[in-house]
């Protein structure tokens, strides 16, 4: 019943379990938390290591001797310009205010996604499951195409880019400096179990832009009576302050933390309950209302509070979400840390729904079809666009300067070795 009980697989199973439990790469020879392997918390989750046998070489660090002899920060910029003897890193990146992007998030941030072609018989073919092994090794998450740290082009054809890709376009010296510290089921409370996997040194690394996006699990659970298990504003305040203390002790001066508020999840029931789930499309026999009831009955719903036919429960969940968002806003407005600047941003689902409508879309097209819960790739990228516009307009200092040497970097170093 358990493949890991086979003696020849026991050791590798143990190592994989540890990597997933600690949210650190499975394959990481120098233990610097960066990997040359994609899945199992490798470079799908944080910038690819360019030397996995040297722990002093990793994305996001300040360059060693201006990277004259080696690429110590893996941004693909190194060596000396033969025309004047100046190291390229000094020439192109000095004073450019490099920034790394770090996401502390849940399944939304990690981009949880079950491909509809895996469960839709009418679309199934030999090609349908080719990406299933990678998805399983990434905990059914797709951080490589997520709204915050995605580095691959969108699979949905939308032109908007992730926050990492925009930060990289703003300053090519930021190449590979991304960390997606997210986990399915993460909340303000259990973040302490994996925040240690964050890699940032006060002494050696560039400042970071940290996005705190625990957008659901403080009000979402699968319990028969979900309300008593929701986080209270007092508890949230205490958890977030602990997180900030930890960030303050790890992040270089000039770093920022941007809190995302919680969405109002009533749009789930309002837009989906009478629509057919992919399993019900062939015979028109399974609606999202039925799926929600099934998951609630088994107590495995990702969010009983919002995925419910009970209007009062949905309203109570939204009310608590609003209180928690207010708490985050209050923390951003009133707390001070010497190394960190704090900001708060609403989770603007209403705005992106409007934007999507203007483009001729329907709100239900922004939700993951199989789980009927998570915002999908299009929604994530529209949110990234909204985030970027707001930060650029209101807090541009968070993003660092635009690098005037970007064209030269591209000319000399091409794609900078990929992500």
């Amino acid at each position: 019943s358990d493949i890991c009980s086979l003696p020849f697989l026991a050791k590798i199973c143990q190592e994989i379990k540890l990597a997933i439990q600690n949210s650190v790469p499975f394959k990481d020879a120098d233990s610097d938390k960066y990997s040359v392997f994609s899945a199992l918390r490798g470079y799908h989750w944080r910038g690819r290591d360019c030397n996995d046998s040297d722990a002093t070489v990793y994305p996001g660090r300040r360059p060693d001797n201006w990277d004259a002899h080696r690429d110590s920060n893996c941004n693909g910029i190194w060596g000396v310009d033969p025309s004047d003897g100046i190291p390229y890193e000094k020439k192109f990146c000095e004073g450019s205010q490099p920034r790394g992007i770090v996401l502390l998030g849940d399944s939304f941030g990690a981009h949880f996604h079950i491909a509809p072609e895996w469960v839709t018989a009418a679309q199934m073919s030999l090609n349908s499951f080719f990406n299933l092994p990678t998805a399983l090794a990434d905990e059914l998450d797709w951080p490589q195409v997520s709204g915050v740290t995605g580095f691959l082009s969108s699979m949905s054809g939308i032109k908007e880019k992730s926050i990492y890709r925009r930060l990289r376009e703003r300053n090519r010296c930021n190449h590979r400096d991304y960390q997606n510290i997210s986990r399915n089921g993460a909340s303000s409370q259990n973040l302490k179990q994996f925040i240690e996997s964050l890699s940032r040194s006060k002494l050696w690394d560039h400042p970071a832009v940290v996005i705190y996006a625990m957008i659901g699990n403080d009000v979402c659970n699968g319990k028969r009576d979900p309300v008593p298990a929701m986080t209270t504003p007092e508890k949230l305040y205490s958890h977030v302050m602990q997180t900030l203390q930890q960030l303050h002790s790890h992040l270089p001066n000039g770093s920022s933390v941007i809190f995302y508020g919680l969405p109002d999840g009533t749009f789930l029931w309002d837009n989906l309950h009478s629509r057919y789930h992919p399993l019900g499309q062939l015979n028109r026999d399974v609606t999202y209302a039925q799926l929600y009831a099934f998951l609630n009955c088994l107590q495995v719903s990702p969010c009983h509070g919002w995925m419910s036919s009970n209007k009062t429960l949905r309203a109570l969940t939204s009310e608590r979400a609003k209180q928690l968002s207010k708490t985050l806003e209050r923390i951003a407005d009133s707390e001070r840390f010497t190394n960190l600047n704090l900001f708060y941003m609403d989770f603007a689902f209403q705005e992106i729904t409007e934007e999507w409508r203007k483009r001729g879309g329907q709100p239900w097209q922004l939700i993951e079809p199989v789980d009927g819960f998570h915002p999908n790739e299009v929604a994530s990228l529209l949110l990234a666009d909204h985030f970027w516009r707001k930060v650029q307009l209101q807090w541009p200092q968070v993003l660092g300067k635009e690098n005037p040497f970007n064209p030269q970097i591209e000319k000399v170093f091409g794609d900078q070795g990929g992500h």
Binding site: S1, I3, A121, L136, Q290, F294, C297, L298, V300
Partner: protein, 122 residues
């Protein structure tokens, strides 16, 4: 509850099997083999699929051929369990006959099946 995810997994897989048979107008046996063929070798996915067919295939064939749906199949094969005092969880609309009668009929079809003695975890 510990067996809840197993129940969701079972209902999902049996639903896909049922619909795949319908789309290709083929037998349940042939459909199970088709589904396993679709899966990649990596992570033992194909091997596991053939193993599952070997263990539970004959019972699934009997039940689906007798017109039972995924809910009934998964309750009969004990991937889904009704806890005492709790409602019986189902994805599809309930059968026309009462649940107890439907499940009784289904259980008779797979009586003495060796698969029912195997563990349901993992």
């Amino acid at each position: 509850p510990s067996n809840s995810h197993t129940c969701v997994g079972c209902v999902l897989v049996v639903s896909v099997l049922e619909q795949l048979a319908q789309v290709h107008n083929s037998t349940v046996q042939a459909t199970m083999e088709r589904l396993c063929r679709y899966l990649p070798e990596k992570l033992f996915l194909k091997t596991t699929c053939y193993l599952v067919i070997q263990m539970f295939g004959p019972d699934i064939v009997k039940l689906l051929t007798a017109g039972m749906n995924a809910d009934v199949v998964c309750h009969t094969l004990e991937f889904c369990k009704q806890d005492a005092g709790q409602p019986l969880c189902h994805l599809y609309a309930p059968p026309k006959e009462p649940w107890r009668q439907t499940l009784e009929k289904a259980r008779q079809l797979v009586e003495k099946s060796p698969a029912l003695k195997r563990p349901r975890s993992g």
